[in-house]
Structures are given as structure tokens and as C-alpha cells.
Amino acid sequence: MNRDELLELIPAYALDALDDDERIEVEALLNKDAEAQSLLQEYEDIAAILPFAVPQRPAPAHLRADLIARLSKPSVSLEEPVAKKPETQPGIEQKSKVVPFPTNTLITAAAAILVVAIGLVAFLLNGNETSDNPNEILFNELIEQDGSQRFTISPGTASEATGELVFSADGSQAVLRISSLPDTTDEESYQLWLIGEEHTQSGGIFHWPDGHGPYYVLIDHPIDELVSVGMSIEPFEGSPLGNAPTGERLFGVAIAQAQ
């Protein structure tokens, strides 16, 4: 590659995005070219802002106590994996800590019967029972409707939430099915956000008993007015801002992309 082509790769170099062969050539240029070095410095400064664009997730409270516990250990080695290792002390019999596992046949059989019974109850509760939840009924109808638009919510980015958002074929309404949300406290709520080009509005405030779900939420809003749909945890009566989330963002689905 010529010099100009290599200079064009410097932004990607600042992001660690180059393939190996490209990186070798760019580094060779950087070793001898002051303009390339200056350009890299600029792009590295720009790349340094990217962590600030990450949605903020509150660090779990237990991390502080965990850090204190790690600091109090006799030696803290950075090379050690963070995963805890079982501590042993010389001269102490490990088997004294072992609780014999019950092997009594009757206990085993009783446990098996209990498991079967629980499974049977779960089946009866979640099996072919017909829902009387109108939003769930509509959700199932929209799933089957020709031309409906579906958006999957997968765990990983902001929370473990999973679900699906289904818009009717005419785009006039949708139902959100969501589960595996983080639990809230008695002073909190789940708030849905409908985000358009010009403004954001609340899609409802929900006080569910826990985050397990699934929960079905009707979105009576045309798809062509939406850019994104999301959910956050807010105070009990909703975001104090009214038209914007303030709490932990749980998920967001960009609608415009898939249209």
C-alpha cells in the first residue's frame, strides 16, 4: 500500500481494527513518519471518548465489599484469576468439612416423587391453559398475522431481559412480551419508553411482583412514529423527568432499523 492508503488506515488502527497484515504496514509507517504519528495521536484522543458513550450500568453494590475482602488477603496477586480458590490450611482435615450426602433409598424415592409432583403442577399451570390476559391474546394473534413485524430482545447488552415486540401488519399497535427483568424494590417501577424522532414519551408505568414474567404490554402507538422502544427502572411513580428515563436502562430496541 502507498503512503496515502496507509494514512487512511490510521483511524482504524486507533480502534485496533486492522487485520494483521495492515497493522504491520501501518506500524512501519508510524515508525518513520511524523505526520502519521500526529494523526494517530488525534484519532487515539477521539477513540478515548468511546467509553464515555457507553450507557451506564450501576456497579453491583457487593463489589465494594468484595474489593475490601480481596485487599485483606495476605497477598493480592494481579495474575490470579478473580474466581475464588478454595482456601486450605495445612494440618486441618478437609474431610471434617464434608457433609455426608444422604443415600437412604426412601429419601431418594421421596425426592423423586416430589420432583415429579412439582413438574406436574407446573405443567398444569403453564400447559394448555387458555390465557384470559387480553394483551397476551393479542400478542399471540399478532404473531400469527401475515405481515406483522417482530423484534427480538436478547440478553446481554444492558440486562438479562428477553422478549419480543410484535407490531400489527398495519403498524397501528404492538404488544411487548418481556421477561427476565431485574427485580425492583417496593419504591420502584418499570417504565416503558416510546422514542420518536422529536420526543420521547412514557408508554406506561408498571408494578410487577418481580422481574420474572412474562409480561405483556400493549403499545397503542403507530410504528411509523417510533424510532425505538425501551424500558428502565424508575421511582414508583415514574421518571421524575416525565419524558425521559433517569434510571437503569434495561433494554432498547431500535425500530427504524428494521423497517
Binding site: 482504524a12 484522543d45 450507557p55 456497579a59 447488552t157 431500535a254
Partner: protein
């Protein structure tokens, strides 16, 4: 938290003050955890990386050079690199489909970076980042937070390699044009 108390805390950490480390933890655990989570996609790994970062800070507080940049940038760079190291150690996985949906529109979600640490210029750049075409922003995020090369991104997005290269180049050039329009184009005034 401004740079002066941070410098003081770092000196105290070098002297063995756990309280000083905990003060920095209270201030920066969330942004560190957020970056780690963005890279790794799950809370367990992100927690462990966050722990690693602060233990590294405990052990190597003296390695921060205030002449080379601001503390937050330095710390979050360590967080990102630690997270990527961890990512490389486990089986490479595709980012969840909807992570792109969420992160393709970060401007839709209010971010709360460290108040005094982030300049108006940085805020402007974050705003411009949100306004980039989705393809450019996605390519930049995939390379920076998912440790993907040009070829990796092209394969993941099923796009030509040249297209991916253009997305990254054009996106970063646009950010640079904003960067160069400002009278003070450095994150911190101490850098030359």
C-alpha cells in the same frame, strides 16, 4: 472528582491507603463496570473485570502519568483492555443481535459519564457519535468494544471488506472534523 483530589488519592494508595482506593472505587466503579459490561455482555464477567481493574490500580497506582492524560480516560482504557483480554480468553461469540439495536442509538439513552472529567468537547463528540449513520457507528463500536478487525466485522455484518473499511474511516473522520473545529482539541490541557 477533579484531578487534584485524584492525584492525592493515588499518592495515598501508593502509601498503602485502602480507604483511598475505596474512594476511587466509589467514584469510578460504575463507569468501569459499564465499559466491561459493554464488552463482555454479562454481569459476572464484568464484575470480575471491575475487580481486576481496581486491584491493578492498587498495585500500579504509580504508573498513572498525569502528563499523558486524564485519570478517567486512563482507567477506562485499562477497563476496556482488561475486558477485551478476558473476551479473547473465552470462546469468541457473536454479539447478541439486539446489542446493535440498543447501541446503534446511544443518543436515545441519556449517558452519565463522570461530570467534571468530561469536557464540553467530549460531550459534543458523543452527540456526533449518536448522529453518525448506523453503519459507521456500528462498525466503530464493533471494532472498539468487541475487538473485531475489519475482516471480522465484514463477516459479522455480511458486508464487503471495503465497505466496512469505509464505514470506520468515514465515521472517525467525521468525529475528527468536529474535534478540529474546537479551539482546545485536547482532552486535557496538560498534553502536548
Amino acid at each position: 472528582m477533579s484531578e487534584t483530589p485524584i492525584k492525592s488519592l493515588l499518592q495515598q494508595i501508593q502509601s498503602g491507603s485502602e480507604e483511598a482506593l475505596l474512594q476511587l472505587h466509589d467514584e469510578f466503579a460504575t463507569p468501569v463496570y459499564s465499559v466491561a459490561y459493554r464488552v463482555l455482555g454479562n454481569s459476572q464477567d464484568a464484575e470480575e473485570v471491575t475487580q481486576d481493574v481496581f486491584l491493578k490500580l492498587w498495585d500500579k497506582a504509580q504508573s498513572f502519568d498525569p502528563d499523558k492524560g486524564k485519570f478517567t480516560s486512563w482507567l477506562l482504557t485499562i477497563a476496556r483492555r482488561s475486558a477485551i483480554d478476558r473476551l479473547r480468553k473465552r470462546e469468541r461469540r457473536e454479539p447478541p443481535d439486539n446489542s446493535i439495536s440498543m447501541d446503534a442509538a446511544p443518543y436515545l439513552w441519556e449517558t452519565t459519564p463522570g461530570g467534571e472529567e468530561i469536557s464540553d468537547l467530549q460531550r459534543s463528540l458523543i452527540g456526533v457519535l449518536g448522529e453518525l449513520p448506523d453503519d459507521q457507528r456500528n462498525a466503530i463500536y464493533l471494532s472498539y468494544f468487541h475487538d473485531m478487525s475489519h475482516s471480522d466485522i465484514a463477516a459479522h455484518l455480511n458486508k464487503p471488506l471495503g465497505t466496512v473499511k469505509s464505514h470506520i474511516r468515514l465515521g472517525m473522520q467525521k468525529l475528527r472534523s468536529i474535534w478540529n473545529q474546537q479551539p482546545d482539541t485536547r482532552i486535557d490541557s496538560e498534553r502536548r
